[in-house]
């Protein structure tokens, strides 16, 4: 396996080297020291291990619209906006993630083995976000499509102004945001959660004992009657 030393090369050279790798390569990036923008904008199917904590936008703008992309594992904690606008492939974080994880992600799978801070899955557009632990306030804000699975508890204002994304929470929910509602779990939901548990390995989640949160669709059209709901 090739190794790229982030401290020696710097982020720019590391990203260049990653971009040049042929499909199916395996590579390890060492000495990441919380640096921002590591492994961004990559579309080839390569396996990357980031051997430590990383900063903002780790794995951001990755993958292609056909759902393929690199598989990235972060052996540590990550900063803001993990895998933002991801199109395909996967990003797995062994630690916890800071704010706005998976923001606006359109495809692929983002897996966080620890907790995720505020606004996890904000503006989500089709990707799957799975968090083993808790998520902070305003998670799923304006999420348009895709799935968010929370293995722990969810903070205040969950799913505020949701469009068509669906949120599953195994633990408790502090409060729901505007236009979010709890819905009955269908057999399709249970099947989807089972599949997610398999992919993520989050077997502390019992697919039958999960709360489904989705949009009540009351704010889809402007009306003065809704003034107090926003």
């Amino acid at each position: 396996m090739e190794t790229l030393n982030c401290e020696v090369l710097g982020v720019r050279e590391v990203n260049r080297a990653l971009r040049r790798l042929p499909a199916r390569s395996q590579v390890r990036v060492t000495n990441t020291y919380g640096k921002h923008n590591i492994a961004v904008g990559l579309d080839k199917e390569i396996s990357i291990t980031l051997g430590g904590n990383t900063g903002y936008f780790t794995g951001g703008l990755g993958g292609s619209s056909d759902g393929t992309g690199p598989d990235i594992v972060v052996d540590g904690f990550v900063g803001w906006s993990l895998a933002e606008n991801l199109m395909g492939g996967s990003v797995r974080v062994k630690g916890s993630a800071s704010q706005s994880a998976a923001s606006s992600a359109r495809g692929g799978t983002i897996i966080i083995e620890g907790d995720a801070s505020l606004r996890a899955g904000i503006s989500l557009k089709g990707a799957t976000l799975a968090v083993a632990g808790n998520v902070g306030a305003m998670s799923g804000f304006m999420a348009q499509a895709g799935t968010i699975l929370v293995g722990g508890n969810a903070g205040a204002g969950l799913g505020d102004s949701l469009y068509e994304a669906v949120i599953y929470v195994a633990g408790s929910i502090v409060s729901l945001g505007a236009d979010a509602q709890v819905e009955e779990l269908s057999s399709d939901d249970i099947l989807a959660i089972k599949r997610l548990v398999e992919i993520t390995g989050f077997d502390h989640i019992d697919p039958h004992r999960v709360t489904r949160v989705a949009s009540a669709r009351r704010l889809y059209h402007f009306s003065a009657q809704n003034h107090g709901s926003y």
Binding site: V40, G41, F57, G62, S65, M87, S161, Y163, H221, A224
Partner: protein
């Protein structure tokens, strides 16, 4: 108004409650919702019209019109070593979304810009293959909503524009009402068709100037530092915002004044938020000068630019280029009483304006999606009213004629490049404009606020 009770003269119209204001309140009372509309501020504002050029005479001599060369080439975005946009003219086409505009309108703008050697800009809704093909220089917007944002499109772009705000609605997000959210628009934006779509007003993945610096670096990494990054702001606290954008790493700053247009937003926003383009240019230019970045970071100004005179005045006050939106739509045929469709047949569409509750020349009904001339619509039967060939030629003509107006004034000021115009070439006709542009009131050397009387 006749008064049948007695012979007393009619009462004067109330200033605070004229009939139009009462109509507005009645409409709010009837519908319980505020007015949403397209285009920009309608109220009278201090503007470039309040400035005139001191062209050459005895103390300075002019260049010969049509004979001596007057350079209009403009380069944007070389600050960080990326390939700059090399434009033949300092007039670019502002970001307007597919969704707000029909794909035919987008394509015509792209083809026209390519023909005259300038750039166009995507909008809130991503890049369509048609517009990429039509535009030789295409600026890809990164908007708060991120609708349809695709890294593959990013890599095909010639420049990136991070949109923080818009002059028509600084601090507000976009709106696209359900009637325009057809299946293709909805799919591009990952939304259910037919909903009243609200775009976010804040970016989902960063907040504040320090984050912005990191965000810009991400976009540079994703494009291997090969293309420039613009930052677009709606004109409010212009000096601070320009300095922060430059500190965050912007190659180009785009400042959009309150006359700037929109496809749909609250009227109260359009008329009451932000500052006019006139003071915005001067403040932005000053901010760049203050931090020693004049000409290194280019300033693009937009918001109500219509003519070569407007362009010349913006450049004289410190802009490197301007961006036009509404004017480009008008060149396409917006607000025309008739249109010539793709079959060449001229059609009188005045009735269609009336059906929208407006008239040709007064329309700002882009938000309805029922544009009588096929520009701001997603309805196939309306869209076919815009003939791409003709519309392209119309925009080409408009851009060329406007550039000629610009060079005519520039030559008369004795300058061989439009970028040599300077504030010294201008005086103001009103005290307000003199104070805002910081050029003397005509016939005096008084600049209000500068101390000397």
């Amino acid at each position: 108004m006749p008064n049948d009770h007695n012979d007393a003269p009619p009462a004067p119209t109330s200033y605070s409650f004229p009939p139009a204001e009462m109509d507005r309140i009645h409409a709010l009372a009837d519908t319980g919702t505020y007015q949403i509309r397209g285009l920009g501020a309608r109220r009278k504002l201090p503007s470039f019209d309040d400035l005139v050029f001191l062209t050459s005479s005895v103390s300075r001599y002019p260049l010969e019109g049509y004979r001596e060369r007057c350079d209009t080439r403009t380069e944007l975005g070389a600050r960080h070593g990326a390939a700059p946009l090399e434009l033949a003219i300092p007039i670019t086409i502002a970001g307007m979304s597919f969704g707000a505009l029909s794909s035919a309108a987008k394509e015509a703008l792209g083809r026209a810009a390519s023909e005259v050697g300038t750039s166009t800009t995507t909008g809130d809704g991503g890049m369509t293959p048609e517009e990429r093909k039509a535009s030789s220089k295409l600026v890809y917007q990164v908007l708060p909503s991120r609708y349809g944002f695709d890294p593959a499109d990013l890599r095909q772009a010639d420049a990136i524009e991070i949109v923080i705000g818009q002059g028509a609605k600084p601090g507000g997000g976009g709106l696209l009402l359900g009637q325009k959210v057809n299946a293709r628009v909805a799919a591009l934006r990952t939304l259910p068709p037919g909903i009243d779509q609200r775009s976010a007003s804040r970016h989902p993945d960063w907040v504040g100037p320090d984050d912005l610096r990191i965000k810009m670096e991400e976009l540079r990494e994703a494009t291997d530092w090969s293309i420039p990054i613009y930052v677009k702001i709606g004109a409010t606290r212009v000096e601070h915002d320009v300095k922060l954008a430059v500190a965050a790493g912007a190659d180009v700053v785009v400042v959009d004044g309150m006359q700037g247009g929109t496809a749909a937003t609250q009227d109260v926003f359009i008329e009451n938020a932000g500052i006019p383009t006139l003071p915005a240019v001067r403040l932005a230019a000053k901010a760049l000068r203050d931090i020693g970045m004049e000409r290194q970071v280019q300033l693009v100004v937009s918001g109500g630019i219509r003519s070569g005179a407007d362009v010349a005045k913006a450049l004289a006050l410190g802009a490197d280029a301007v961006s036009i939106g509404v004017a480009a739509l008008v060149a396409l045929g917006c607000n025309r009483p008739s249109c010539a469709g793709s079959n060449g047949e001229v059609r009188d569409v005045r009735e269609d304006y009336i059906a929208l509750g407006t008239t040709a020349g007064n329309c700002s009904h882009c938000h309805t999606g029922m544009c009588p001339v096929g520009i701001a619509t997603q309805e196939p039967h309306l869209e076919e009213r815009l003939d791409i060939e003709r519309a392209t030629q119309a925009v080409v003509n408009y851009l060329r004629a406007t550039t000629m107006e610009l060079t005519a004034l520039t030559r008369a000021c004795g300058k061989s490049s439009v970028h040599h115009l300077e504030p010294d070439d201008l005086v103001a006709l009103t005290i307000e404009a003199a104070a805002m542009a910081k050029v003397p009131l005509a016939g005096t050397n008084w600049i209000p606020g500068s101390g000397a009387l």
